[in-house]
C-alpha cells in the first residue's frame, strides 16, 4: 500500500519545516501518496507520559482514530510521534481492559486495525530498485555517520523495526544513494532527547560524544531521521562542541540527502535552513562551486 495518512506533528510544523518539506517531496518522488491527517492534534510527546499515562494514551488515540476514519495506515516522519503512536497501539491492543476504559471513560473508540510507521520505516521497506532508478546524482563524495537515536528502534516490542542495538536501515539507504557510511558505536546512544531542552550539560555530554566520535572516524556529516536529534545536534551544536576541539559538522535529514541524490534543489529540501552551515558540503556533493 503506498497511500498513507501523513502526520507532520508539532515540530515539523514549526522548527523542523525542512524535514516536512523534504519528506513530502521525496515521498512524492517515490510514488508514496501522503494525505495530511485532518485536524491532527499533538501526539502527547514525552511530557504526556511523564505526567499521566492515561493522558498519553488518549492524546495518541485521538489521532489513531482519525487515521482509522480515513481507512489508511499512518506515517509520522518524527520518531518521537511514531513511537508514541506505536506505544499507545501496543498497550491498547494487548490489554482489553485498557481499551475498554478508553472507550468508556474517554469515549475514544479505537479498533487497533491500522499500521503505524515512521517515515524511515516506510522508505526503507520500499524495493531498493524503485529507489535506485530515481538516483541521478549519487552522493559518492559523502562520508556520513547514520545516527538513529532512541525512538526509532526502542523498545523493540513496540517499534517492531530494525535491530535495537545495531540498526542498519539508514546505513543501507545511504549506501544506496552512493554515500560512504562511516560506522559509529554511538549510532543508538541517546542525544539527550527532551532533556536537552532544559539542560545544556546533557547536550554537551551526549550530543558532544556523538559529534566527536563521528568527526574522529572521518565523517563529514551526520544524517538523522528525528527532529529532536537534529535540534540537539545542529541547532545546539555550539553547546555540544563546547570544550571539545571539534569543527562545525553539518547534520542532514535522510530525506534531504535522498532528495539531493534524486536531483532536487537544496533550497527546495530546506537545506539552507540549518544552523550549522551545510551549503559548502552540499555544493561539493552536487558539483556546484560555492
Amino acid at each position: 500500500m503506498s497511500k498513507f495518512a501523513y502526520y507532520p506533528g508539532c515540530t515539523l510544523e514549526q522548527l523542523a519545516q525542512e524535514y516536512d518539506e523534504s519528506a513530502r517531496l521525496v515521498g512524492k518522488f517515490l510514488g508514496l501518496e501522503f494525505t495530511e491527517l485532518p485536524d491532527w492534534s499533538c501526539c502527547g510527546a514525552t511530557p504526556s507520559h511523564h505526567k499521566n499515562y492515561l493522558l498519553s494514551l488518549a492524546l495518541a488515540a485521538r489521532n489513531l482514530i482519525l487515521t482509522e476514519e480515513q481507512g489508511l495506515d499512518l506515517v509520522a516522519p518524527c520518531p518521537a510521534c511514531s513511537n508514541r503512536f506505536k506505544t499507545a497501539h501496543h498497550d491498547l491492543i494487548s490489554d482489553f481492559d485498557l481499551l475498554k476504559k478508553l472507550r468508556q471513560k474517554f469515549d475514544l473508540n479505537y479498533r487497533g486495525e491500522i499500521g503505524i510507521f515512521s517515515l524511515l520505516e516506510v522508505i526503507s521497506n520500499l524495493p531498493f530498485d524503485l529507489i535506485r532508478e530515481k538516483i541521478v546524482r549519487p552522493l559518492d563524495r559523502l562520508r556520513v555517520v547514520p545516527y538513529y537515536g532512541c525512538f526509532l528502534v526502542r523498545p523493540p516490542e513496540v517499534t517492531q523495526f530494525d535491530d535495537p542495538e545495531n540498526p542498519t536501515s539508514l546505513d543501507n539507504l545511504m549506501e544506496l544513494i552512493g554515500a560512504q557510511v562511516v560506522p559509529s558505536e554511538y549510532k543508538t546512544e541517546c542525544c539527550g532527547g527532551v532533556l536537552g531542552i532544559t539542560n545544556n550539560q546533557v547536550i554537551s555530554k551526549l550530543s558532544g560524544d556523538i559529534l566527536e566520535t563521528a568527526q574522529k572516524a572521518g565523517a563529514q556529516a551526520i544524517v538523522v531521521a528525528c527532529p529532536l536529534c537534529h535540534q540537539n545536534l545542529d541547532l545546539k551544536q555550539d553547546v555540544a562542541r563546547s570544550g571539545r576541539n571539534l569543527k562545525p559538522m553539518p547534520v542532514f535529514y535522510f530525506t534531504q540527502l535522498m532528495g539531493l541524490a534524486f536531483g532536487i534543489n537544496p533550497k527546495d529540501l530546506g537545506i539552507p535552513k540549518h544552523t550549522v552551515n551545510p551549503m559548502r558540503l552540499t555544493n561539493s556533493l552536487i558539483g556546484v562551486r560555492s
Binding site: 508539532c10 515540530t11 510544523e13 514549526q14 522548527l15 519545516q17 485536524d39 491532527w40 492534534s41 499533538c42 502527547g44 510527546a45 514525552t46 511530557p47 504526556s48 507520559h49 511523564h50 505526567k51 499521566n52 499515562y53 492515561l54 493522558l55 488518549a58 492524546l59 485521538r62 471513560k105 474517554f106 475514544l108 532512541c150 526502542r154 523498545p155 523493540p156 535495537p164 542495538e165 546512544e189 541517546c190 539527550g192 532527547g193 527532551v194 532533556l195 531542552i197 532544559t198 539542560n199 550539560q201 546533557v202 555530554k205 551526549l206 541547532l235 545546539k236 535552513k273 544552523t275
Partner: protein
Amino acid sequence: MISLTKPDINFVQEVETLSGQKVAHCYQCGKCTAGCPFAFLMEDAPHKIIHLVQLGLQKPVLSSPAIWFCASCETCTTRCPKQVDVAKLMDTLRELSHKAKIIGEKSDVRLFTEIFLNSVKTKGRAHGVGIMARYNFESGHLFKDANKLMPMVRQGRVSLRQKKISGIQNVRSIFAKAKNLKSF
C-alpha cells in the same frame, strides 16, 4: 493515607499496579545503570531507584531528582535481562510524584512538562516558541537559547502565534477526564 517515611508495602503494590511491572523481578545486576546515558547526572542510579522501590521507601524515591533525569530513551527497558520495563517504572514514579506533590530539587523538567502540556491543552498542538518563552520566564533562565530565536524567526521557522485546531474541545475533554482518573 500512605506514610511517606516508613517502609511501605502499599507503595510497592501501588507502583506495581500502575506500571504493570514486578519490581521483585529485579535482581540488581545494574545493567540498566551501565547503559543509562543520564546516569552521570543521577545520585541515585536507576538500579538503586528500583531497590528503593523494592524496600518500599516512598519518600526517598519520589523526592529523588534522578527520576526527572530519565528521558525515556528506553535503553534500560531494551536490555533488562529480567524484562523489567525500567523506563515505564520511571514514568510511574514521576506520575506518583506529581500526585503526591513531592518534588525533587531538580524541577526544571517538571516545569517544562507542565508548560508543554498546557500549550497542548490550550491549542491542541504544542507551540514551540510559546513554550520556550514561558519556560525561560518561569525557570528564571531568561535568555536561554535567545541567540537561536532570531535566525529562526527570520527563516519563518517559528511563528509567534499558534492556531487552535477545530477539535480543541475533544483535546480539552481528554485533559479533563485524565485528570480525574487513576491510571489503572
